[in-house]
């Protein structure tokens, strides 16, 4: 393990945003127009700098990551581990010895997510150029959100995990609520209450597990031998264990979100500013499925066996329902491109659920890879919407047409993202979807065949949107330059800052379409190990 200034890489990458926040706090806001402008630019570039260092550290971690170590429930094969006592109280009546550790480390499940978080946070900073008010607060909240997300992916202590999980709610609330669209208040509080509703049950399960195991260590909770006799979660497929699994599942499923917990997502996405939509789709949604694989699956493997059919079914429903809703955006009167992409997220996260439920190497690898790919592809899609929305101040599907001539570079980038979202071979989305279907077909052939319909629907709504917006005739109202004063946009096409956000993602999407091994190899051994744990744990349930 390497260190940075004597600090472990995971601690460094997680708490670097805190340093960034302090720096931002110290930047004066400026008196007149000119100094104000300088101050805002300073805020932007400091954030870019912080997230860039994060990305570099993430790449260093990637370079030093050993793919042969399995992790998941084996404390000895986690990497970059740091373990410090955080709260330690001995001999408390009722509670016994209370030990909470600052315990971080990564394995094949979390390594791709850490990489994804660093990447998306970095590129989303560039799309934050479109933020027009209260810059200081925005970038501070942005970094706080970054901290919370990174923390969730590296935490191996349930308590720490929970703290990071909740830490992220408040900045997200403000980011949607202050810098969002017209119905921002509604969207923000809906997001907040929905997620809190899910996580309070997680809190109860966490406390119950703590009493059953005697520590908050996630890895301890995964070993059935650690459960003390007579405690609430001790045993095999007891009612309480199944209830606890459902509670955890609902908590995570709200975040994913799967049908029927998805209703907050379209609202949040439509109202959130572009960079926040990017983060929401790119990272936050992954926390749900990641939480399932990190917490719920290995701790309650026999409950997975018990509920797996339902989980696969939920995955299938999410795929089809999300796709149909997205297709519904083409109806007259709705026609919001951002909402279309939001619903496509529901559909694409359904693939992840389906892949997880396959419980074989292909399916699970596909699921995690799909998490990564959906993160990059949807991030691109939201940025693309942001680019056009910033210029036209509308994103109705039928209000555009023929943009290909007006904005050729933009159209090129857009095409990569759209085709990757459809799952065109040669782009990253194809590989993960194919793996998911391959895996899921072995376990649930019928559900998989129905789910494959989602791909067809996906192609339909994406291509239709593409055709409506980029081909055909340019409407009269957009014939002139976007910004007649020429202050904001000097030419019609996409500008440098926006390209800085989109191009890295496009490269990643194309690269992973050709060399998927770069990410897939990270997770293979952990995925196989996780499947083994779940299968062994579920054996008695007749799997």
């Amino acid at each position: 393990m390497f260190t940075i200034f004597g600090i472990g890489p995971l601690t460094f990458i997680t708490f670097l945003p805190l340093l960034g926040m302090l720096i931002l706090l110290a930047i004066p806001s400026g008196k007149d127009e000119k100094t104000k402008e300088t101050s805002i630019n300073l805020l932007r570039w400091v954030t870019v700098g912080i997230t860039f260092i994060q990305l570099v550290v993430a790449l260093l971690i990637y370079a030093n990551f050993r793919t042969d170590l399995v992790g998941v429930n084996d404390p000895n094969s986690f990497q970059f581990v740091e373990k410090v006592k955080w709260i330690s109280v001995k001999g408390l009546p009722l509670f016994g010895d209370l030990n909470i550790e600052y315990f971080v480390g990564i394995d094949g499940l979390s390594a791709p997510m850490v990489l994804l978080t660093a990447l998306i946070c970095f590129v989303a900073t560039f799309s934050s150029w479109s933020i027009k008010k209260a810059h200081k607060g925005y970038f501070m909240m942005y970094l706080l959100l970054d901290l919370g997300m990174m923390g969730v992916f590296v935490a191996l202590d349930f308590f720490l995990f929970y703290v990071f999980w909740e830490l992220m709610l408040l900045p997200m609330y403000f980011l949607i609520g202050i810098w969002g669209g017209p119905r921002k208040e509604y969207a923000a509080i809906k997001f907040f209450i929905y997620t809190l509703f899910g996580s309070v049950f997680m809190l109860l399960v966490m406390i119950g597990l703590y009493f059953s195991v005697g520590s908050f260590n996630l890895l301890d909770m995964m070993n059935p031998a650690n459960f003390k006799p007579g405690e609430i979660f001790t045993g095999f497929q007891t009612t309480w264990r199944l209830v606890a699994f459902v509670a955890l599942f609902v908590g995570f499923a709200i975040k994913v979100p799967t049908v029927p917990f998805h209703t907050w997502l379209p609202d949040a996405h439509v109202e959130a500013p572009t960079p926040i939509s990017v983060i929401l789709a790119g990272i936050l949604l992954k926390m749900g499925t990641y939480g399932m694989l990190r917490v719920a699956w290995p701790i309650f493997p026999e409950a997975v066996a018990y509920f797996n059919n339902y989980i696969a079914f939920i995955g299938m429903v999410s795929i089809i329902y999300g796709a149909l809703c997205a297709l519904g955006q083409h109806k007259v009167g709705k026609r919001d491109l951002k909402k279309l992409i939001a619903y496509s997220s529901v559909s694409h996260m359904g693939y992840v659920m389906l892949g997880i439920s396959a419980l074989n190497s292909n399916g699970l690898t596909g699921a995690i890879f799909q998490m990564f790919n959906h993160g990059t592809i949807t991030a691109m899609l939201f940025m693309i919407v942001g680019v056009i929305y910033d210029r036209a101040h509308t994103r109705g599907l039928d209000e555009f047409g023929g943009l290909a001539n007006k904005m050729p570079v933009y159209t090129g980038i857009m095409a990569i993202a759209f085709f990757a979202a459809i799952g065109l071979p040669g782009l990253s989305g194809f590989i993960s979807e194919a793996l998911v279907f391959l895996g899921a077909f072995a376990t649930y052939p019928v559900l998989t065949v129905i789910s494959a319909l989602g791909v067809v629907l996906g192609a339909a709504y994406m291509l239709w949107a593409l055709q409506r917006m980029f081909f055909g005739k340019l409407p009269e109202r957009w014939s002139g330059p976007w910004d007649p004063t020429g202050k904001e946009y000097k030419h019609d096409d996409i500008n440098g800052i926006e390209l800085a956000a989109l191009v890295p993602l496009a490269i990643v999407v194309i690269f992973l379409g050709v060399f998927p091994g770069a990410v897939v190899n990270l997770m293979t051994s952990s995925v196989n190990h996780l499947i083994e744990i779940v299968k062994i744990g579920g054996q008695f349930a007749g799997m």
Partner: protein
């Protein structure tokens, strides 16, 4: 015979001497009370001198608290109890006392030119003295006296701004509800006296271990006594005074009532339950056995669920921030009652931890409300629009306090809730824990309204920024920093509560 009498007198004097030494903090408060009256007579012009003297009184009392030897014993012939449990609450009262005096210094509504502030600080001291006594009282006479000392002072304090209509109205409602509650309570005490022939909690306990008579009068008497405590902690259904008084009273007093007065109510209620109704020979740390057949667990659980649910749901409709916080304080009484329901040492520890965190965040929230009211002259939710941009410090602080009140990490409020839920789950009352967490989700809905108005609305308004003196700002930090600090490193808090849970029960 003569020698026996002199022996008795000798013992009595020895006990008195010993007790008075331990009673020093209360004596200091009483002295400061008298001193304040005199100081007020001499310095009639100055507004702050009496407050400073009150602070000095608190400081000296704190010193005596610290230097007094750790002691768990009776004092004053079983009337009084010295134990770590009462000390914990006395520190809570002292911290709140400091806080309320300091907050009052920065209150515009209190420090009007034509108002004398001498009685105000005098009464705060009197109230604190009552709280000190009630947290140590081992006898129902003393409990009643201390409760009334507290109540009588607080009636006047609630209406101290007597030219404001709603303050006088709040005061009137407070005194009527208070008198009714204390009337019911002493009627209960009188029945309890008739049943047991004693007023000492410890003798009642001893009596109940052998009690074979009818349960009904005992239940009625206990429930009537419970009315008095329930009224102090403002638990539903004894809460009717709370919203009115909290809205009408000066903010500093509202904060003091919501924290210290509630703490006193909890201290005496917890002692009443444990000293009076727990079998002391069989009180293991994990489970307490009750000496009577009254199902206290059920009664307290019902109170708790009612308080949480009604407090939170009614708060959803409030448009006045003070009134909303009043309902939130009812809900918090419900959360804390969850810890009492458990009826174990662990549950009591959880309540004590919760109280400390509640002190920080609730005082903080009310202080911010007061500072805002100083400048904009309103406590209405609508007038809070865009305040976050006019005063980023207050906006941020308020958001932190409210998040803490909701119980989200990494704030102190989360730690309090965590321990309460741990205690409840460990005693297998999972339904109660579920009600509790659902209630905290509901509470988010109205707490969020405040920081929604402060930050999400009026972003572009160019109203003048709010200006506060450096001292007023420092006091905000004094509440914010511990709220965050104890949310991350709460080990000392748990140690303190753990070492303080030991309650002297006469054995």
């Amino acid at each position: 015979m003569d020698s026996l009498l002199s022996l008795f007198i000798g013992q009595y004097v020895a006990d008195l001497k010993r007790s008075l030494a331990l009673f020093a903090p209360e004596l200091v408060l009483a002295t400061a009370f008298v001193l304040l009256v005199i100081v007020d007579l001499i310095f009639q012009k100055s507004k702050y001198i009496t407050g400073v003297v009150a602070l000095l009184g608190f400081a000296v009392a704190t010193i005596f608290m610290i230097v007094s030897p750790a002691n768990t014993s009776f004092g004053f012939w079983q009337m009084y109890v010295f134990d770590p449990f009462s000390n914990f609450f006395k520190y809570i009262f002292l911290i709140s006392g400091f806080a309320v005096v300091l907050i009052s210094f920065f209150s515009n509504e209190l420090n009007k030119s034509d108002r004398t502030m001498g009685e105000y600080y005098t009464l705060i001291l009197g109230m604190t003295l009552g709280m000190f006594v009630i947290s140590s009282a081992g006898n129902l006479i003393l409990i009643y006296l201390a409760l009334e000392t507290m109540s009588l002072s607080s009636y006047v304090l609630a209406g101290y701004t007597k030219e404001i209509k709603r303050a006088s109205e709040a005061s009137l409602k407070y005194v009527i509800y208070g008198a009714l509650a204390s009337g019911l309570m002493i009627y209960g005490i009188s029945i309890l006296y008739g049943l047991t022939g004693t007023l000492s909690l410890f003798q009642i306990n001893a009596f109940l271990t052998q009690y074979q008579g009818p349960v009904f009068p005992l239940v009625v008497a206990s429930l009537l006594v419970l009315v008095g405590f329930g009224y102090k902690i403002s638990a539903v259904p004894f809460h009717f005074w709370t919203p009115d008084v909290y809205e009408g009273a000066p903010v500093a007093i509202t904060a003091y009532l919501s924290v210290a007065s509630k703490a006193a109510g909890f201290a005496v209620f917890m002692r009443f339950l444990k000293a009076g109704f727990i079998d002391p020979t069989n009180a293991s740390e994990q489970v307490w056995t009750m000496v009577s057949s009254i199902d206290w667990k059920f009664i307290v659980a019902v109170l708790s669920v009612l308080s949480m649910t009604i407090g939170n749901f009614v708060a959803l409709w409030q448009t006045n921030v003070k009134r909303m916080l009043a309902y939130s304080s009812i809900a918090h009484a419900g959360y804390m009652l969850m810890g009492v329901t458990v009826m174990t040492e662990g549950g009591y520890i959880a309540v004590m931890i919760y109280f400390f965190t509640y002190l920080l965040m609730n005082f903080g929230a009310f202080y911010v409300v007061q500072l805002i009211a100083n400048e904009i002259g309103s406590e209405e939710l609508e007038d809070y629009n865009g305040l976050g941009y006019r005063s980023p410090l207050l906006g941020t602080a308020m958001a932190i306090f409210l998040v803490s009140l909701t119980g989200l990490p990494p704030t102190a409020g989360f730690v309090g809730k965590l321990y309460i839920f741990q205690a409840v789950i460990n005693s297998n009352m999972i339904w109660l824990a579920v009600v509790g967490v659902l209630n905290s989700v509901v509470s988010l809905a109205y707490y969020a309204k405040v920081f929604r108005n402060m930050w999400l609305r009026g972003v572009d308004s160019n109203s003048a920024p709010l200006k506060y003196s450096i001292y007023a700002q420092l006091l905000v930090y004094a509440f914010v920093i511990p709220t965050l600090y104890y949310g991350i490193f709460w080990t000392p808090l748990v140690f303190w509560a753990k070492s303080s849970v030991m309650m002297f029960i006469g054995k």
